[in-house]
């Protein structure tokens, strides 16, 4: 095994990618990617635009044929004709047929996925789109279309879910509901979840796979990531001379610490100086560094 792998809890890897290169019209986008996924969880696929996130999901779903390398799903070499019976794929574009009402569109998906009318009724309620059922898809807002698009991955259960920016174009409330559904799914399923939203990634992901220039720059547990700079923001109830020399960001005074373990000491110190603290929070997100240009060697890579 040449690439990063995760400890197995199951009987065999759900996804095994060995030296896979893929792209479009002969142009390489993914370069010799290798990894293995066994544990049910959300694996957030991160990377800048053009890094190869969508290409990776398209290749794993069987849409694109790898130029080289092997993909195994549940130990079997990926068969494009039957990949859809093991894997759910949600594209970053809606994928909703034109000229149909919402219920008709879901019936179209149900036909493709061999689901029944009762499944359509179930997802209408699950995604709270029943009020839209008789509306034409062309009349829906971008967010409503996204919900309809997401509804189809809940028509039938699959072992593996490949979700390409599933919360794009959604308002915060709906995005939160979708994340809750995906989190629920991930208890028993492998979910690869591509996102540009680093905070969303940190909120729901257990693992992160960062892709840069078509290669895996990092694959590991999100909890194990540490920022090279751990900065906390301190918000006070009233202005404090003790913090006056610290740089500010909005209402927060910024203080760099060696790590999270130093926070209790900081709190004690501030208390002893009479600072009335309203809130202390970590500023920044270690995942941001995955997008930064500087570090070529990322933690865990």
């Amino acid at each position: 095994m040449s690439g990063p792998s995760l400890e197995s809890r199951g009987s065999g890897p759900a996804i095994e990618c060995l030296g896979v290169s893929a792209g479009y019209n002969g142009n390489l986008v993914l370069r010799h990617i290798s990894f293995q996924i066994t544990e049910p969880a959300i694996y957030v696929v991160l990377g800048p635009n053009g890094a190869g996130k969508t290409t990776l999901l398209r290749t794993l779903s069987g849409i694109l044929e790898p130029y080289e390398g092997t993909i195994r799903i549940d130990g079997k070499t990926l068969d494009r004709s039957s990949a859809g019976t093991r894997v759910h794929y949600l594209s970053h574009v809606d994928g909703i047929p034109d000229g149909l009402r919402v219920r008709e569109a879901l019936n179209f998906y149900a036909l493709v996925e061999r689901a029944g009318p009762s499944d359509v009724e179930r997802v209408l309620d699950l995604l709270e789109i029943r009020p839209l059922a008789e509306q034409y898809v062309s009349q829906l807002s971008a967010g409503q279309r996204k919900r309809v698009s997401i509804a189809r991955v809940f028509l039938r259960e699959r072992a593996i879910y490949l979700l390409d920016e599933p919360t794009g174009n959604l308002d915060p409330k709906v995005a939160r509901e979708i994340r809750a559904l995906v989190l629920n799914l991930s208890r028993e399923r492998v979910v690869l979840y591509s996102s540009h939203n680093l905070y969303e990634a940190r909120e729901i992901g257990r693992y992160v796979m960062a892709i840069r220039n078509g290669q895996i720059a990092l694959f590991g547990r999100i909890d194990d990531l540490r920022s090279s700079h751990f900065v906390v923001g301190i918000r006070t109830l009233e202005p404090s001379n003790a913090l006056a020399e610290l740089p500010q960001q909005g209402d927060y005074y910024l203080k760099e610490l060696p790590g999270p373990e130093s926070v209790p000491d900081l709190l004690r110190t501030l208390e002893s100086q009479g600072v009335r603290i309203r809130e202390v929070r970590e500023m920044g997100n270690p995942l941001e560094e995955l997008f930064a240009d500087a570090p070529e060697e990322l933690p865990g890579a």
Binding site: R58, G62, R80, A83, T85, S91, I96, D98, V112
Partner: protein, 241 residues
Amino acid sequence: MRRAMNSEAAPSLLGVTLRRSFTTGRFFLGYGSAISVVLGVSLALSPGSAFASTFPFLLPIFVVVGSMGAMVVFTNDRIKGVLEYLLAYGYSPRRLFVTFLLTALALSAVVLSVAVAAGLGVYLIRGHQFTTQFATLLVLYAIPMSIASSAFAATVGMLWTSLSSPRAGMNSPIGLIPLIGILPCLVTLFLLTTLAAAGIFSPAELLLIAAGVVGAVVLIVVALLSTLGRFLRRERLLSPA
């Protein structure tokens, strides 16, 4: 949990694609049918044999236009990511291609039937005879050229998706394909008109030339179909978004 079996074949999408083509492509279907009916009835009502001698040569143009609903659905599905979704669920590019090709042929059969029934009906009601010459023109040119040109347009539009994509400055949801589709019919018309004016060939010879052009279009379509494996790559069916 309901587990899907690997042996499950992806169900046919021909019926739903046809239904969607009827609704989404209703402008083209209505336009092709209406113009061909108006043309047929007008010619049938006019004195002399204008209907029998002209209608079969003009009909394929409008049949091709009427079949464009299949291309509208194909192009929309490609751009909106529906084809990408279908590829992920086990549909091969070849199978998707055949579905849209059959849909285009079914739409052309609808326009063809409506136009011939209306035009010929009025022509016969007016007391004209259903001549052997007219039947020969229908069988050797109008019907096969309509089908072949519709197949040509659909095949070119799916193999070279840039030709069936919307273009800036062009008010067509399927780009250049309607123009490309009617090209064989227009070339035949031009050729026959020129040769008839020159007076070199007899009407029977001109009919054979027309049938020869139909044969050439059929050969081109067959040649294109034989290159499916090489040219119909999965990348071409993905959304450009």
